[in-house]
Structures are given as C-alpha cells and as structure tokens.
C-alpha cells in the first residue's frame, strides 16, 4: 500500500501537491500563532474568528471569488470587532461574534446552494476541501503564511512579554494595544489558512492542538513555535496521505482529509501530554 501511495502518483498529482502546500502553510502559521493563542488564553477568540471567516468562505462561493479572499476578509472584520477588548469581556465578544458569524454563514450557504447551485457548499466551507482547492491556492497560501511569520517576528518580543503579563509589558514601554491588534490580524490569517485546509469549524484543531502539544514539551518560546509548526505539518501531511490511501479502503471514495488531520492532532497532543507526566 505504501508503495502505491508514494509512487502510484501520490506526489505527482498536482491536486495532491496543492493540498500538501496549503496544508503545510496552514499548519506552520497556525502552529506558531497557536502558541501565543494558547498562552494568551485566546483559543475561544480564535474559534470565533474561524466561524466568522466561514461566512466569508460561503460568500466567496456565492460570488465566485477566491475563497481565501472571502475567508480572510471576514476574518479581518471579525478581528476588528475583537480589538480593544479586555481579556475579561473578550470571551463575551467572541461568543457573540461566533453566533453572528455562523448565522450569516447559514444564510450565505443557503444562497450559494439555491442561487448558484454550488454542490456540497456547506461541507466544503465548514469541513474543508483540500483536494478541491483551486490550483494556485497552494502558492498563495505559502506567501500568506510567510507574510504572517514576518509580521509575527516584528511583534515577537512585546507579544511574548504581554503574553506573560500585559502590565509588565506596558511598564516596559511596549505598545500593547498595537501588539494585541496585530496579533488578532495574525490570528485571522492563521485561521483563514486553516479554514481552507480543514474547514472553518475544524481550524481550531490545527490552531490549538499542535501548539498545546508543543507547549507541553518545550521550555523555550522558539522551540515551542518550531515544534508546533512541525507537529502541524506532520498531522496535515499524514492526513492527506491517509485520505489518499482511503481511496483503496472504500473503493472509489476518499474519506474526508479533515477527519484524518484532526485525529492525528489528537494523537500528537495525547502523546505530548503523556510524555510530560
């Protein structure tokens, strides 16, 4: 089976190449951003942004534009809605945003199906469609991830200090509003890429799982970021490979990639937690 996986066209297929590239870009950025998301206790905000971005995904199906544009556009709007919140009522704002986002998604998906006849719109937006990504999406995702990493490098130090204690950071003279705002934009970008890979609803898995696993086993910030990115890529690529293989299990029908990716994320997290004990 492994032979057929590797040489029977797996890596030669442009669809698979595209999927691997999107998966890697999403996993790397989500892993790195996820480390700070976990440390800042913003997992819920991350999930809310993903749900808002799903409305963008649905909108792009309706308008026939590049899905990344839709996901990120709405994600950015959501990030704007969350800026300037204190950590306490951030949860509240995220909860309201989440509801609004999903409600809007329901409406836009309805239109996409009834007006444009997009088949499987709901599944592809909510649960991802790596193998159905438009050609060129991989390259776009790669550059988006690169831009995200550079932006994070720019705010890295004040972000780390503020994640420890925001008052300590502001006594030190850091512009913590700016840092928090830029971080939300990064969160929206990471969630966008993950939404394209595993779907809006499951993007939280890629954001939180690898990062939480990495944090269990690292004592230095850059080690945590590196490990989170590696874990994420391993899960994504492993998931793509398993989905590709599943074609043989239930002949002619590929299992959802997202199922494999999220299962692998769970395994990695469990292994890291077990090692920590």
């Amino acid at each position: 089976m492994f032979d057929s996986l590797m040489f029977g066209g797996f890596l030669a297929s442009t669809v698979v190449q595209n999927a691997l590239l999107i998966g890697a870009a999403a996993a790397v950025l989500s892993g790195i951003v996820g480390v700070f998301t976990v440390l800042r206790g913003q997992s819920f905000a991350g999930h809310a942004l993903a749900d808002v971005s799903s409305a963008g995904g649905a909108l792009s199906l309706l308008l026939g534009i590049n899905p990344m544009l839709g996901f990120f556009g709405l994600g950015l709007l959501g990030a704007l809605g969350l800026t300037g919140r204190r950590r306490g009522d951030g949860d509240l704002a995220a909860g309201i945003l989440l509801g609004t986002g999903l409600g809007l998604t329901a409406l836009l998906l309805h239109f996409a199906v009834t007006m444009r006849g997009v088949a499987g719109a709901a599944v592809s937006v909510m649960f991802g469609s790596l193998f159905a990504a438009p050609p060129g999406a991989g390259v776009l995702a790669f550059f988006a991830a690169l831009a995200g990493i550079l932006l994070l490098a720019l705010i890295y130090k004040p972000l780390l200090l503020a994640s420890l204690d925001s008052e300590l950071a502001s006594v030190r003279g850091a512009n913590i509003r700016l840092v928090a705002g830029v971080f939300l934009v990064l969160l929206a970008l990471a969630v966008t890429l993950s939404a394209m890979a595993v779907g809006a609803i499951l993007s939280t898995a890629l954001l939180i799982g690898p990062a939480a696993a990495a944090l269990r086993v690292s004592r230095r910030p850059w080690v945590a970021m590196l490990l989170a990115a590696l874990f994420g890529v391993a899960c994504c690529w492993g998931g793509v490979a398993l989905a590709y293989a599943s074609y043989d299990w239930t002949p002619g029908r590929v299992w959802p990639v997202s199922f494999f990716i999220t299962s692998l994320v769970l395994l990695v997290y469990a292994a890291a937690s077990w090692r920590r004990q």
């Binding site: 130090k157 200090l161 004592r219």
Partner: protein, 258 residues
Amino acid sequence: MSLTVTNLTVRYGGREVLRDVGFALEPGAFCGLIGANGSGKTTLLRTILGFETPSAGRVERDGTVGYVPQKLQIAADMPVRARDLVALGLDGHRLGFSWPSAGRRRRVEEMLASVDALAFADQRVGELSGGQLQRVLIAHALVSGPKLLLLDEPLANLDLRAAAEIVALLKRVAGQGVTVLISAHDMNPLLGAMDRLVYLANGRAASGRTEQVVRTEVLSELYGYHIDVIRVHGRILVVAGNAEAHHHHDHDHVAAIP
C-alpha cells in the same frame, strides 16, 4: 526629586480609596509604603504607573520606572525561562527581530548574579518558588537601569531569611541611586533598611523619615491602637498590643504627621 506625588485622589466608582495623598522621594531613597490590607497600596502604585487615572492631583516621575507587581499569574506551560524574562526587561518593548548579542547576554547574566538567581536561571518561570520568582522579577525590573523601582508586597510570601535577603538587595540598589518604593503590610522586615515611610490608612497618607514616624506615639495614633517600638540588639521592632485601651475611630488627623 525622582518621584513627586501631589494631592492625589483616586476613586473606584464613587468610593474614594486615596484622598489628598502627597509625598516626594529623592534619588536613592528607600521608602516603605505601609498599610493594612485594602488600604490602597496597590492603588497608589498603579496610579504612579499610570494604570489608574486619579480624579485629582498629580504624579511626577523623573526617568524610567521598573515595577514588580503584587501577583503574576503565569501559566505552567509558559515556555519562558527565568533568564528569558530578565532579557525581556531589557528589550521586551522593542519591535522587530534582533540577533542575540554577547553584550545583552552578559548584562542579563550580571543581573541574574546580582539578585542571586543564577541557580535557577534556566528553569521555567512557572516552576519557580515565590521567592525565586520575586528575585527574577526584580532582575527584570532593574535590568534596563530604571531611576525608580516600585515593588508591590514583594516580601508577602517570603520566609524571614529570604525577606531579609531581598531587602538587603534592594538596599544595595538604592545605594546605587535608584529610588525604591516598596509596599508592605508589615514594616518590620523593612525597618533596618528604609529611610522614608509612607503610611496609608483610611485613604490618607502620613509620610516622613523613618525615625520620625516609627515612634510609639505616632504609630499608635496611625494604627488606632497601641503600638510598641522596641529596640533589641540595636535593631527596631514594631509590636502591636493592648488594643482596647487606645482605640480610635477617627483617622482624619493622620495626614498631619510631619
């Protein structure tokens, strides 16, 4: 003066927590900020830092400030070692990437040594004991060379020996010209070191040189019950006693202390 607080009034909602508080500290002063739980010590320090906006009065600071907060909730998973936290005190505000430099590393190393924290420099901050974390936070606050150091109850969770060591460390820092303002609900560990004292009660502050304020009649007046100032082996100790006899309810005259 490296810190001047003038007619400061701070309210939470409608409640006045600090009223008409004023004092000034010159460079190198070692000043205790003494008061019971809820007397407004944290509020005063946070107002000096600009985290709370006073409804009246002014704070003038000369130069940069270092701050050691009363409590810091650190996630156990926080992948930051003690030495990383100290390094962030040096450039934690700076945007952009910078390569590790030998000079920066040496500065951090010296700072860790001066607070006697080298032994646990590579431990995660979330794994440090209260006293160890206190030292690391002091190093974080001092490494950038501030003119003013504010510490909120740094001795609260320390044993007698650790407290004495921290006080000695802070005294050395003050000796180098840094103004130290340190809050405490128990003034005893500070008595050998502090040369100035700000006492908070009922929103008002009394301040003065330590030997002016730490006297039986003055302290009994401030606390509202009898306080003995005892001298043993050339050291001073403050002991509360005989509470009923000298009970006062009115503390408005507190501010009149020289």
